[in-house]
Every structure is written in C-alpha cells, then in structure tokens.
Amino acid sequence: MGRYVARRLVQFIPVILGTLFLLHVLSVLTIQIVGDPVRALFGENAPPEAILEQLRANYNLDDDCLEQTGNPCVRLFVDRLAQYASGDFGINFRGRSVAELFVERFPVTVRLTVIALVFETVVGIFLGVMAGLRKDKLVDNFVRFSTVLLIAFPVFVFGTLAQLFIGLELGLPLRDSERAPEWLGQMLTVTYNPEFPWLSLMLPGLVLGAFSLAAIARLTRTSLIENLRSDYVRTARAKGLTSSRTVGVHTLRNSLIPVVTYIGIDIGLLLGGALVTEGIFNIPGVGQLVFLAIQANDTPVILGVVTILTVVFLVANLLVDILYAALDPRIRYE
C-alpha cells in the first residue's frame, strides 16, 4: 500500500504541472483575446496611462507576450511556478493575498461539500439499494423517475425553488415561532448565516448534492442489480446466510466500488461547481471566489485558487483510491 501511495504521489507532479499550464494558457489567451483586465477595472473612462501601467506591473500583466495572441507566455509560467514554489500565490485586483482569500473561504466550502457528500452518499445509496432490490417495482420506478428529474432540472432552478419554498415559506414561520427549536429554523435557512456555520449550510448542501444524489442512486441501483446476479452472491446464499447479510455484506460492498469512484470525481465537482449554489444562498465560498475572479479576469485568483483546488482534488482522489483499494483487493495488487 505504501508503494502504491508513493507512486500515486509521484504521478501528481506532472498532473498538477499540466493543469497549471492548461489554466495558464487559458488565462493568457483570455487576456490576449478579451482584453486588458486592468483597463476593465475602470469602465467607460480610461484613467491616466501611468496608472494603468503601474497596476499592470503590480499584477504581473505588463509582459509583452500578453499582447501577442497565441503566445503561451512560457516565461510568465515559469516565473509563476517559482513564485508558487515559495508559497506565494500572488494578490488579487484588490490587493489581497490569494492564499489568504482561499484560507478565508475554504472552510465554508469544505463544510458545504461535506454536507452535500454525506447527504448524497447516505440518501443516494439508500435509494439505490431500495430500487435495486425491488427492480421494476413501484419503488424502483419512483427512484428512477425522480432521479431523472434531479438530473434534468438545472441546479439554479432547483436551488431557487428550494430557497423560496423550503427556506422562506417553511423556514420563516419556524424561525419566528417561539416553540420551534432554533436549530430547525436555522436548518431551513434562506441565506448563509455565519453564526450557524453548519446548520445554515444544510439546505444549500442538499441542493448542491441533489444532482450527485441522483447519480449515486442510479449507480448503486445498476451496480446492485449486477452484483445480485453474480456467482458469489449465489455462493453466499448456498452458505445459508440470511438475505440481509447476503445483500448487506456480500453484495453491497462490491456494488459500492463504482459509487466510490464517482464520489472521488464528485469531490472536485462539488468543490468547484458549488458556485451556483453559493450564489443563490450567498455563501462566501471558493466557487464564488473563482467565479467572481473569472468575471473580472483576475488571473492571480483564478490560477492560484484553481491550483490549490486541483491539489485538493487530487489528494481527495488519492484518498478515494485508497478507499477503493480497501474495498476492492484486486486493485491493491495490480
């Protein structure tokens, strides 16, 4: 196992460099094609050129290669790598350290992601198992149809409806009521409330996890149906085991292998893709930070934060792979 982890860690290096370079090229192209982000800070009326130049220098945007469309600006990339290596992730257009911004916002996103993950995993697997065990029965059809709805509805529509009907219509009377417990009202929140760092992220977490819940339920269902037909499940029954043990121990664990793969990928999706949910529920998270940065072409933030996110994503995937290997011994000894 140790060697496996070590090998995976070594493989990180080219992947991170590659992601960084990809991002670098994208943002350089954006500046080359879309235009000078510093100039855009000032709107209709251009400030004195001296100020623009000073700002460009402040943000390392004064390199000539940024004027030549198609030039990948390799030198800038190398400089940036050196800068990152020393732990400096630059400053944003408002003069704040990117690393600091990230540290401020990351815990919020992590909490949101954890809630979404727990929710989608627990409920998703439960629904998937129910549907899989009763294939083509009412429960199964209900799960299949409702998951299609979750996949089809754009998340912003789903989020707004949840905010309005659960957060306001249902939650507000609870919060105003004397008798309802406070935690309940805060759970059905409308916007993020820093005083309730976990509770007020519950509803957003559910919205965020909804799509993945659908995916996990469908995956579990398919996978469970597959495995229920497998020879080793027949063996388990021939061993005279109870049906709950046959399903719970001998089938489920095998069925969870693709689900775990999905969860690994999903961590990245949730971390970065949370921006829609974060916008709707006014959550100061990382997704929103990057989204705003993209809007303003704030290259240091885009690069810095997405780089850190990529590292987090890769580490999370490594953890998932270890879990995967724990679930499936065949992987371990590849």
Binding site: D231, Y232, R234, T235, A238, H250, R330
Partner: protein, 350 residues
Amino acid sequence: MSEILTETERRSNKSPLSGVSFDGSAPLLEVEDLEVEFHTRDGIAHAVNNVSFTLREGETLGILGESGCGKSVTAQAIMGILDTPPAKVTGGQVRYRGVDLLQLEEKTRRHIRANKIAIIFQDALSSLNPVFTVGWQLGELYRKHAGASRAQAKSKAVELLDLVGIPGAPARINSFPHQFSGGMRQRVMIAMALALEPDIIIADEPTTALDVTVQAQVMTLLSDLQREMRLGLILITHDMGVVADVADKICVMYAGHAVERADVYEIYERPAHPYTKALLESIPRVDQKGQDLTVIKGLPPALVDPPPGCSFHPRCAFARDRCTTDEPPLYEVPGNRLSACHYWEEVLES
C-alpha cells in the same frame, strides 16, 4: 473432521432445525418428480421435468448431460437457491431424511444449506467473493452458523485449508481468491462445502474450469473426502470420464428430463438410451486412434419450445414416427435401470 465442531456448537448449530423431525432411516436424499419452470421474456421454459432420483449415505450419484439440460437447475432447486423469479419450482418433492425441503419455511431451510447439504460451484473464481479474504469467507460459516468468535473461526479456517491440502494454510487464509491458482481455489470451494460437516455435497462441474492434471487432483481429493466422511455426493458433469471413476449411479439428463438412470458399470457397458450412447461414443478413445470422433449432430432444443414427443428425436439415430408424437415414459430396463426411450431394447442391443 469431528474435532472441528465441539459438541455444544453442534447442538447450537442444529438448534434452528430442532423443530424438524428427520427420519434417520429414510434415504439421505430423495428427489421425486421435480419440476422447475423459468419465466423468460420468450415464454415459459421447462428446465426440469419430472426428475427423480435417490441418494444414500456414502453414495455418489453422477448427473450427466450437455450444458443447458437442467443439471445445474436441479442442483440449485435442491439447494433452494434458484433465482425466484424467474425460476420457480412447480412440482415434486425434495426429501432430506424423509422431510420435504420444499415445504419448509425459508428460515428453516436456510439452515439446511451448508449444514446438511452443501454445494461446490464450477467457477471458483467468480463464486468466491473477490473482496473478502479466503479465511474470512470460510470463517463466516462458523461465525454465522455456529456462533464462533473471529479467532475460533480463523483457526478453523486454517484447519479446513489444511484438510483440503492447501500448503501454508495459516498464511494463505489472509489471501484473496484472485491470488490463488485455479486448483487451489477449487480446493477452497471444497473446504467451504465441508466446513459444517454436511451429509450431502453437490459438486456442480467442480473440475471443468481446471487443467487436466489439476482436475485429477481435485477429483481425487473430493472422492477421498467423500469416502472418509461417508458423504452423499452428487456429481454434476458433462464429462463421462470424470463420473466413470467415482460415481456409483448415473442419471443422464436431456432437455430437462432424466432420460436414463442406472448403475455406473451398466451404463458404460450397455447404454439403454440413444443419448447416453451418443455421449459415450463422443469420448475419445485410445483404441480408436485415427478414427474420427463421433459427434452428436445438432444442438439441444430450446427449453421454451421443445420438440413434441421425445425431445431427443431430432438428433436420434433410432427415431421413428412415434418418437415425434409420443413422449416416452421411463421404461424399466432389466438391471434396476430406467430409460426414457420407446426403443430401449433396440439401443441395448446395438
């Protein structure tokens, strides 16, 4: 073997079955007019039709037939592990020591499995759970049926692996199925079947997936253990060579029917059914070197839509008009034999 289970464990292990009154004098296993149907999208397939046989202590019964003739379904019906739906036992009895298992509640019947009747599957790799160690899978039987602790279960798993001749058992119990060779895996399957000292073992094509040399080793192990423990063994195979060595009695199946039943020697001497005869002729023989092998023409019929009359008639060298209309009953053939052929005498003579 008896040292594996203590007397208390034996009692506790038998307790769920205490309400069932087994008749010690009755035959070990009697299958009578067993019928199994499959509900498929194409219609109802009659996978097993009126199959009967009896197995006594220490006896080995060979069930012989091409793939798809209902052998494995019969085995799974006896075990009670058919996938229901689509499969369904629609008639007959499966009596263990005089008790019809089909009438038992699932809760009770579950305890018959592994405790009284165990099964060895053909493909050990897919039949062993890939994500658990071999020791865990063996130990599970003791933990769940005999209430053994993890440590006890483990030490018993080691003993079992020793018993089936796996070298270095204490280390090997922590290995996963895919880390074993084919022969060793099959030994694990055998060990698993033996674990709770059942009275009957059903071996469903136990050696098909193995190399010839390994096949012999596994079969030897199996028959040694059977003799040693006076087990009733049902050996399901399509390989006439395998049954010839170990079986006492043979039941030949074709398209879900038992078409011939006899002692092993008689069947090999003079088959009383054209299908048995054709099977025998398709075995390569040293004294016929240079000759072409006789092959049975055609394919077995679809079970959804079997041919009328004798289902073997399209492929039968002895077939007459009558065979296409009248389904042959089991004729009694001298020598305590049965054959489902209208012209069994003719077959015997040829």
